[in-house]
């Protein structure tokens, strides 16, 4: 049931343009029962970002939609609702694969990836 975890440090958060460290903390960070779960979820985020980027580069829109769908649920569940909303926007943008507006999908991919990179456990 566990997905493979292979943290890839090359993809770990870069602070955009040296600007303010605008990061997202989990809303559930104060819940001791959740701490470990949130940490392992955050550890896997770089891997997921890499999947998003790879599927986008290869134009695998069905797979991209699947990842977005999972991220939507997971981010919501682990206390990152804004990131979950970004994932939902991407999923919706891909709901009709044939007629997907690729420019707006590109924008949504960028937005989601950017937000994912700012996710912190605590």
């Amino acid at each position: 049931m566990m997905t493979e975890v292979s943290p890839s440090h090359s993809n770990v958060a870069k602070r955009p343009g040296g600007g303010p460290p605008d990061v997202y903390f989990s809303e559930l960070a104060g819940d001791p029962e959740m701490a470990e779960l949130i940490q392992s979820f955050v550890n896997e985020i770089p891997e997921r970002v890499r999947l998003v980027e790879r599927h986008w580069e290869r134009h695998e829109l069905g797979e991209l939609r699947r990842i977005a769908h999972q991220l939507k649920g997971a981010c919501g569940g682990y206390g990152f609702p804004q990131v979950g909303q970004a994932a939902a926007k991407l999923e919706n943008g891909l709901s009709r694969e044939e007629n997907a507006d690729l420019e707006s999908v590109a924008e949504r991919v960028r937005e989601l990836v950017e937000m994912c990179r700012r996710v912190r456990a605590s």
Partner: protein, 324 residues
């Protein structure tokens, strides 16, 4: 089979591994056993296998829509009573109406409020508990506490299927109280009821723990004897018949009560017979016992070969006449 453990079993169907992890951790302290699948297509099969006390069902799954799963669960007799809580990111009333119309018990929106989900899950488990109690009650005869005819039909079909599959011995006896109407008419219905209750008690005390006694209807009782050939089965039913015949009744001490018994059993294997035919043959033997003067047991052994023919033409019933 119902849950063997004391903890109720909850089945989680959600394509997201994250949701599984989350709920596994968050429901850790609930008194439940959580099993799950990320594949919607497996949901119905798992529900059939595990007979869960509640199903948590995601709607938005890539391989199969959760509503389709719900529909299939409600169409399947083994799972249609299991409470289903829909998990969905959609909070519009249209989806909720669809869910409830399809037979969902509850609807929880994602991301979950865990306290709320826990409370709703507990409510659902209470409902399941009541439904199970009710369905057990529906199988119980009110007067004697034995299984009723519906229970008999179920258990008998199961036992015949086992017997055919594994070639194990199996016997069925039908017992009918002799001149029961006369008891009711002469001494009143409470006296008749007392006879039925007492015979039910004897069926249980004189049979073995794995035998299944049911009230088939009126003054007729059925005793299913798994792993028991007709010879051994006859020893059991004769014990019951003897116990009844020698009982002294406070309401009518000078009128003993007897019963007639039809018995059909096999030492196995048999492959062709249906539960209905077996029952008919047993009923036929009961009829023969009545015709031959009552208070006796008529036994037939089923063998592989004569089963393709009606029993009347195969093995002749052997009346065993004993004075009680």
């Amino acid at each position: 089979m119902s849950n063997t453990e004391n903890k109720p079993l909850v089945l989680l169907v959600d394509d997201s591994v994250d949701v599984h992890r989350l709920l596994l951790a968050r429901l850790r302290h609930e008194q439940i056993e959580l099993v799950g699948t990320t594949r919607a297509v497996e949901a119905v099969e798992m529900a059939r296998r595990y007979k869960p006390s509640t199903i948590l069902l995601d709607v938005d799954m890539p391989d199969l829509d959760g509503f389709e799963v719900l529909r299939a669960l409600k169409e399947e007799p083994l799972t249609n009573n299991v409470p289903v809580i829909i998990l969905s990111a959609k909070c519009g009333s249209e989806d909720k109406v669809t869910a409830f119309d399809l037979g969902a018990t509850d609807y929880v929106t994602k991301p979950f409020d865990l306290a709320e989900l826990r409370a709703r899950l507990r409510a659902s488990l209470r409902l399941d508990h009541l439904v199970r109690l009710l369905s057990e009650r529906a199988d119980v005869d009110g007067l004697t506490g034995l299984g009723n005819r519906a229970a008999f039909n179920k258990r008998w079909a199961e036992k015949v299927a086992e017997c055919r599959r594994y070639g194990t011995p199996l016997s069925l006896a039908l017992l009918d109280v002799d001149f029961f109407k006369r008891i009711n008419d002469t001494y009143g219905h409470p006296a008749g009821d007392q006879v039925l209750v007492e015979l039910a008690r004897m069926l249980q005390s004189e049979s073995r723990s794995h035998d299944v006694a049911c009230r088939y209807g009126g003054e007729e009782f059925a005793l299913i004897m798994p792993n028991t050939g007709p010879q051994e089965a006859q020893v059991v039913t004769e014990r019951v018949r003897h116990a009844l015949a020698t009982r002294v009744w406070s309401r009518h001490p000078d009128s003993p009560i007897t019963a007639s018994v039809g018995l059909v059993g096999t030492n196995g294997p048999v492959s062709e017979i249906t539960p209905e035919h077996w029952l008919e043959a047993t009923d036929h033997n009961l009829y023969v016992a009545k015709r031959a003067g009552r208070n006796r047991c008529v036994v037939t052994e089923l063998c592989e070969r004569p089963l393709t023919q009606p029993l009347q033409h195969g093995v002749e019933p052997q009346p065993r006449n004993e004075a009680a």
